[in-house]
């Protein structure tokens, strides 16, 4: 029963069957919202899907064997781990046994950026290397508040199980959510934190040397990252354990989509920060919010004891 549930989560909801169209829709609507706010019509909502099919149908330029191997494995790994992280989100209640675990979730979630960094260095392109370095710097800066916030939630709920972590008391959850929201545009590489893939400066950053199907896999992994991260916030925001299953799922979908629109608005309204400015913001404000969450969690526990 349990493995069946896990498989369903991976393949149906919130996994593949839901995440693929949703990811494409999210990427498409992000571009569309940015276009509308810039006074343009923008691409159709299905744009990301067509981009994916087109890239998949291209014939990549031949590479030497070790390169080709790396270039195939890294995006596949990023795609698989993103999907795994997504499947762990506690949207629907799971009866018994291994429900989502916070440590596994974070580990899977962080694989995709790590793969991107490796890909940047493996491509030996100067743009790829600069992009990978920036990605690493921003990754560290965003992960410190991100992980502190998650730790605070785990501390407050007294559990590492994602379903219980998501229902931590609001005194902790509110500042933790704030910290996580600050990290979201960094992890999705959108304005004002589009430092690692800064198009006008370093082309496509770590993915500069990827072509055809290999790039398509990256785009897909990126779409899944959108679904996962917006889903994480939705799970933290909604009282999913109190809602019935279909209502909970619907609320989850709507909340993640609303968050995407919000992020797109932010992306359209801001310009790119310099790497130093971006890291300063994260270390100062996001870490402050996360620290408040952690202190509240500790204080909560202290008063209760």
């Amino acid at each position: 029963m349990n493995s069946l549930h896990a498989l369903l989560a991976l393949l149906v909801f919130p996994g593949l069957l839901y995440a693929l169209p949703m990811g494409w829709l999210m990427l498409g609507s992000e571009r569309r919202v940015v276009a509308r706010l810039q006074g343009r019509v923008g691409p159709p909502l299905s744009q990301a899907f067509y981009d994916f099919v087109k890239l998949l149908a291209k014939w990549p330029v031949a590479r030497t064997r070790p390169d080709a191997l790396l270039f195939a494995i890294l995006p596949l790994l990023a795609l698989g781990t993103s999907l795994g992280a997504l499947a762990l989100l506690p949207v629907l209640p799971r009866p018994g046994g291994a429900a989502g675990d916070l440590i596994l979730f974070v580990g899977l979630l962080e694989m995709a950026p790590l793969c991107a960094i490796l890909a940047g260095f493996a491509s030996r392109s100067i743009y790829g290397e600069v992009g990978a370095t920036r990605e690493a710097i921003l990754g560290i800066s965003s992960n410190v508040p991100f992980l502190i916030a998650l730790l605070a939630l785990a501390q407050a709920s007294g559990s590492l199980e994602l379903a219980r972590v998501a229902q931590a008391p609001w005194a902790v959850r509110a500042p933790a959510l704030l910290a996580i929201l600050c990290c979201l545009p960094v992890k999705l590489r959108i304005n004002p934190f589009s430092v690692a893939n800064a198009e006008q400066e370093i082309l496509a950053g770590p993915l500069t040397e990827f072509d055809g199907p290999r790039l398509a896999l990256w785009e897909l992994a990126h779409a899944l990252e959108w679904v996962t991260l917006s889903g994480l916030v939705a799970v933290l925001l909604l009282p999913l354990h109190r809602l019935s299953q279909p209502v909970g799922a619907l609320a989850f979908i709507l909340a993640s989509f609303a968050l995407v629109l919000l992020l797109a608005t932010l992306a359209a309204a801001t310009a790119r920060l310099k790497p130093a400015q971006a890291t300063r913001f994260l270390w100062r404000w996001a870490t402050l919010a996360a620290a408040i969450a952690f202190a509240t969690a500790l204080a909560n526990q202290y008063w209760r004891a």
Binding site: R31, A35, Q38, G39, R40, V41, G42, P43, P44, Q47, F49, Y50, D51, F52, V53, K54, A57, K58, W59, P60, V61, Y127, E199, Q200, I202, L203, A204, L207, T208, E209, F210, D211, G212, L215
Partner: protein, 153 residues
Amino acid sequence: MGTLENPVLRLVDRARRRSAWLFHFNAGACNGCDIELVACLTPRYDVEQLGIRLEGSPRHADILCVTGPVTLATREALATIHAQIPDPKVVVAIGSCPASGNVFAGSPRIAGPVDQVIPVDVYIPGCPPRPHAIIQGIAQAIEILVAKKEDEQ
């Protein structure tokens, strides 16, 4: 080869028609054509609604847009970048310089016009061509891109 009966090939054709990514190469242009090409992305013309995107890396591109008469210094780079674009690909020569050399024709410092270095599919004449003309040229290039079936299985 790609018959209308095959839904996968039809989907691929549709995707290619709706998602053309450009790479812009300045082969010694005066910047006039480059400005007109970028103007196509502005709210007034907004080619992004056709799925067209200006990409930073030639490896992501479908259509190579060349401006300028191809100076000696850019000849090799042009050939390299053309080789880096994965098939199927289309080359568009924007402006009079890449088509004929324009005022630079006969100069010892140019290696062009472009078709001396790489094969060209679409010429967009003008010095510089208007954004309308560029969009029309890109639309033609997309049709050629969709029709390029020789690399298909």
